[in-house]
């Protein structure tokens, strides 16, 4: 027989005004299993809690019901009190007779009757409550950051500065991401490289950051606190340890005219190359698609020239494993590829703009390189076709964004701002030049943002037309841009030298595959899904995996950095103890009765169900069954509902407890 103590709270007058607390306590005393029933003015106050502690000891209570307010208010308080008296805290239940009784009824008799009923269900339940202890999951206090752009660098540095080791994985030969290639940044126009390069160097030299560049995540197993990541180090043909980064190989390489990925084809690089001079690590890589030695066993000049003997044509992909406790995804974005294959539409999209046909129609990242002081033209704005300085530039916003017909329905968020920046940078370089902007709406929410756009228009004299461009043609070396000025209600034709398309932002290539490996979701456009848009913006549905930067949604540098620090702090919170303590009110599965239909596995929102094989001591398979991964389960109990044999059950709300409550209503 249970020894349950019931404590009825008056909550001053809040409960006692409408509920006859004496009567409730009296009725409770009669309930089966109840050892003692008391009432008091304020159960949550110190004397009230002391009363509970004292009764647990004196009456040797094995379960407690506190009839007072909502469990969302004070369940933790009372469970702490019970624990202090040596009672397992999960053997304490609350009956909500305030929010759901005394405050919403005025008929004292009926409210009292209802209160007794509420306590009865709680008493019925608590008899079956299991004594639980928090689940401890060992925590590997080491993080992996995927993506070495500004967000990834920020997250890695934050975590490393807090004293934890970080594995930073970057697909390209150098960290730095898109930001490393930008010219100047809005709204302050500070030089992108000047602010990013020191951070890159810091990350590269940090004693607690292990860099994997030119590497990709191959697979991940395990769960929060205990991930094991396999990383593929792609063939570089350069021994990172021996190489000194002197650059002689680049100078001697005869195959110098390969379009530079870093310059988005605006400049050229040799077959052995560092993507840009400030690359971290400052080590080159050989492009195996063009290198004459690799393609047809010719040349080999770099090998001969390299004094430390760092060139290794026998190099191969390597796999490395890293154990980490948390993963931050910061894989960033790419631009909507204008005029090429699109995700959905059958047409190639924006053929009317002649991108890819006219050399002087370029996208925004190409323009960044053209105007960047470290770019292929050393910051002198020369148009791609003939190297002339454009006396007029047309900027077109929303190319691919907000276009249900042949682009993407969402707003890419940053284009309005960088287009304004582009006009300014252009006007600062070519004082006599004309900057024209065609836009749909100007979206410049942010600190100093709208002021920035107004400055481009009012101070630097950029001409803004609200309207779409309908067609671009080329005549005698000029681009003829025909569009609409919907505010004036007239068609506009601009003869110009260069056109810059503000192409939409899309998640980087391969993000869907990565999401699959990490068991996280992405939306229909491939942006990674946060766990809750407001309250859990950097968490994902897989515990221990976090997102930040433009892989989650289009965003600018300040936002990406802020989100990266947020993700880093979430990681650091989870690293604050050597064990992860989790609420024990989660699911469990009786493997003896489990029929291994795995309905739970399909249903679980957290992928917390694993398939296990139960074997006899001699190794024979006895049966297969489902098992709950305690590191992943959040305790929703959805598995219980779909389990036909109810082999699955959820602690805190077990079948016995719940049925006892329902039966207590009768």
């Amino acid at each position: 027989m249970s020894r349950i103590g019931v404590f009825v709270c008056w909550c001053g007058e809040n409960i006692a005004r409408t509920v006859d607390v004496d009567q409730v306590a009296e009725a409770c005393g009669e309930m089966p299993g109840v050892r003692c029933a008391q009432n008091y003015k304020y159960m949550c106050a110190d004397p009230g809690q002391a009363m509970i502690r004292e009764k647990i000891a004196s009456e040797r209570l094995d379960a407690v019901v506190v009839a007072s307010c909502s469990p969302h208010m004070h369940l933790k308080t009372f469970r702490r009190a019970a624990a202090a008296a040596g009672l397992n805290p999960y053997r304490l239940e609350m009956a909500n007779i305030r929010e759901q009784c005394s405050w919403v009824h005025h008929d004292k008799d009926r409210a009292t009757e209802k209160a007794i009923g509420i306590v009865r269900t709680a008493v019925a339940k608590v008899r079956y409550n299991h004594a639980l202890s928090p689940i401890r999951v060992p925590m590997t206090r080491r993080a992996m950051v995927i993506g070495g752009g500004v967000a990834g660098i920020q997250a890695a540095l934050d975590i490393a500065d807090a004293g934890y080791e970080v594995v930073l994985v970057e697909r390209e030969p150098s960290i730095g991401g898109k930001m490393a290639g930008l010219s100047e940044t809005f709204p302050t126009l500070d030089c992108s490289q000047c602010i990013l390069t020191p951070r890159m160097v810091e990350a590269g030299q940090h004693p607690r950051i292990k860099l994997y560049t030119y590497s990709e995540l191959e697979s991940v197993s395990g769960f929060v606190g205990n991930f094991e990541a396999t990383i593929r180090k792609k063939t570089r043909y350069v021994d990172m340890a021996k190489c000194t980064g002197c650059g002689e190989c680049q100078k001697i390489c005869p195959l110098k005219r390969n379009p530079s990925e870093f310059d988005f084809g605006m400049g050229m690089r040799p077959a052995i190359f560092m993507p840009f001079p400030q690359a971290v690590p400052a080590r080159p890589v050989i492009d195996k698609k063009v290198c004459a030695k690799i393609v047809r066993n010719g040349c080999g000049l770099c090998e001969k020239k390299c004094a430390p003997g760092a060139i290794n044509f026998k190099d191969q992909d390597e796999l490395a494993t890293e154990r980490v406790g948390a993963i931050v995804v910061a894989t960033g974005y790419k631009l909507y590829s204008i005029g090429r294959e699109q995700p959905s539409a059958k047409t190639t999209g924006y053929g009317e703009y002649g991108y890819g046909k006219y050399k002087d129609v370029i996208d925004s990242l190409q323009f960044e390189r053209l105007i960047s002081a470290s770019g292929p033209t050393n910051g002198e704005l020369k148009r791609p076709s003939d190297g002339k300085i454009p006396q007029s530039v047309v900027f077109i916003a929303c190319v691919g964004s907000r276009d249900n017909a042949k682009g993407l329905p969402y707003c890419s968020k940053i284009c309005c701002m960088y287009t304004a920046k582009h006009t300014m940078l252009y006007k600062h370089k070519v004082h006599s030049g004309e900057a024209h902007v065609f836009y749909m709406d100007i979206r410049a929410g942010g600190k100093g943002y709208d002021e920035f756009v107004r400055r481009a228009i009012e101070k630097d004299g950029a001409k803004y037309y609200r309207g779409r461009v309908s067609k671009i043609t080329e005549e005698n070396g000029k681009l003829i841009v025909r569009g609409a000025d919907t505010l004036a209600g007239v068609p506009v034709t601009v003869e110009t030298d260069l056109v810059v398309l503000a192409s939409a932002m899309r998640p980087a290539d391969g993000v869907e595959r990565l999401a699959q490996k990490l068991n996280i979701g992405c939306d229909e456009f491939g942006f990674l899904m946060e766990s809750h848009p407001k309250l859990r913006p950097v968490e994902t549905n897989t515990a221990g995996v976090y997102v930040c930067g433009a892989c989650q949604a289009p965003k600018d540098i300040p936002e990406s950095v802020a989100q990266a620090s947020a993700a880093a702090s979430k990681v650091m919170i989870s690293f604050s103890a050597s064990e992860l303590t989790r609420e024990p009110e989660i699911a469990r599965i009786d493997e003896q009765t489990c029929a291994a239909c795995f309905a739970c596995e399909r249903t679980c929102p957290y992928h917390a169900i694993e398939r296990v094989e139960l074997r006899a001591r001699n190794g024979d398979l006895i049966k297969r069954a489902a098992r709950v991964n305690q590191g992943l389960c959040m305790g929703c109990g959805t598995c219980v509902s779909v389990c036909p044999s109810k082999s699955a059950d959820s602690e805190g709300f077990t079948e016995e407890e719940v049925y006892a409550m329902v039966e207590a209503l009768a």
Binding site: K346, T347, T348, G351, E352, T473
Partner: protein, 282 residues
């Protein structure tokens, strides 16, 4: 190779030079055309702007007739007609109720009608390699501006043919003949088309721009695949020149004319001698 054939009114009217050209050219390639028996007008823009049901019923009747005749693929050289046929076909395919209503209106069962092809698609069926092999007189000196106009590529959802903004399929055909198509800017601009009667100035202006751009890009002729475009660019060329004061004298060929010439047919066999602007030397 056999195709059903829906000529449409224009090709049996003032643009019968186009029909002559098609029959001669495709005949030389060994393609047989089976004209849809007792076909009726597709309704063109008139039905479209005046009566929606009629705009579906008229083409549907022809689709049904073609189906009755057992043809799987049907050439409709006039883009206006093929657009109407395609539009009606799509409307019927997606709506069973409409299908049965229209079936009873047109007194013929309409199911999956034939696949409607434009003339370029017929050459694609022949194959560019086969076409190029059949050439006896390569058109080395021809620098055509391939002109698609509106309805060959628009609206993309209806015609589903080539890139609506930067089409290349006609260039591929003429290149297979040894000609050197010029890259120009007005290949999908409108010539004024339906305004021939109602607003002639519109035609003179729009068509004038097309001719000017073709000439500026070094074309020595235009190649079209639409009877209405041909009328505006060829028959009206004199009026355009008068209106704009510029001289172009650009012959305007049907695509089948240039293919036919490369196959060794003469201008008179193809009916190209009946155009208004004739090539300067034979």
């Amino acid at each position: 190779m056999n195709f059903g054939y829906y000529p449409g009114c224009a090709l049996h009217g003032s643009s019968d030079d186009y029909e002559q050209s098609i029959r001669a050219c495709l005949g030389a390639l060994g393609i047989k055309l089976e004209e849809i028996d007792d076909w009726i007008c597709c309704g063109a823009t008139a039905a479209h702007s005046l009566n929606h049901k009629l705009a579906i019923a008229l083409p549907a009747r022809n689709l049904a007739l073609a189906q009755r005749q057992g043809c799987a693929e049907m050439l409709a050289p006039c883009p206006m007609c093929s657009g109407q046929l395609l539009r009606a076909g799509q409307a019927l395919a997606s709506d069973a109720a409409l299908r049965s209503e229209i079936s009873s209106i047109v007194e013929a069962e309409v199911n999956d009608g034939p696949r409607v092809l434009n003339i370029i698609q017929v050459f694609e069926r022949v194959g560019l390699k086969a076409l190029s092999d059949a050439v006896t007189k390569p058109l080395k000196d021809l620098k055509p501006a391939c002109y698609y106009g509106c309805l060959l590529v628009r609206p993309p959802a209806v015609v589903g043919f080539d890139d609506a903004e930067q089409p290349q399929s006609m260039e591929a055909v003429v290149a297979a003949l040894g000609a050197k198509p010029v890259d120009w800017n007005y290949k999908t601009e409108c010539c004024g088309a339906g305004m021939t009667m109602a607003s002639p100035e519109t035609v003179l202006e729009l068509s004038g721009k097309i001719l000017a751009n073709a000439a500026a890009h070094g074309a020595n002729c235009l190649v079209a695949a639409c009877p209405m475009c041909h009328v505006n660019l060829d028959m009206k060329q004199a009026a355009i020149q008068e209106y704009s004061g510029a001289r172009y004298d650009l012959p305007v060929y049907y695509l089948t004319d240039v293919v036919g010439m490369a196959l060794g047919l003469s201008a008179s066999e193809l009916g190209a001698d009946r155009h208004f602007v004739l090539a300067r030397e034979a």
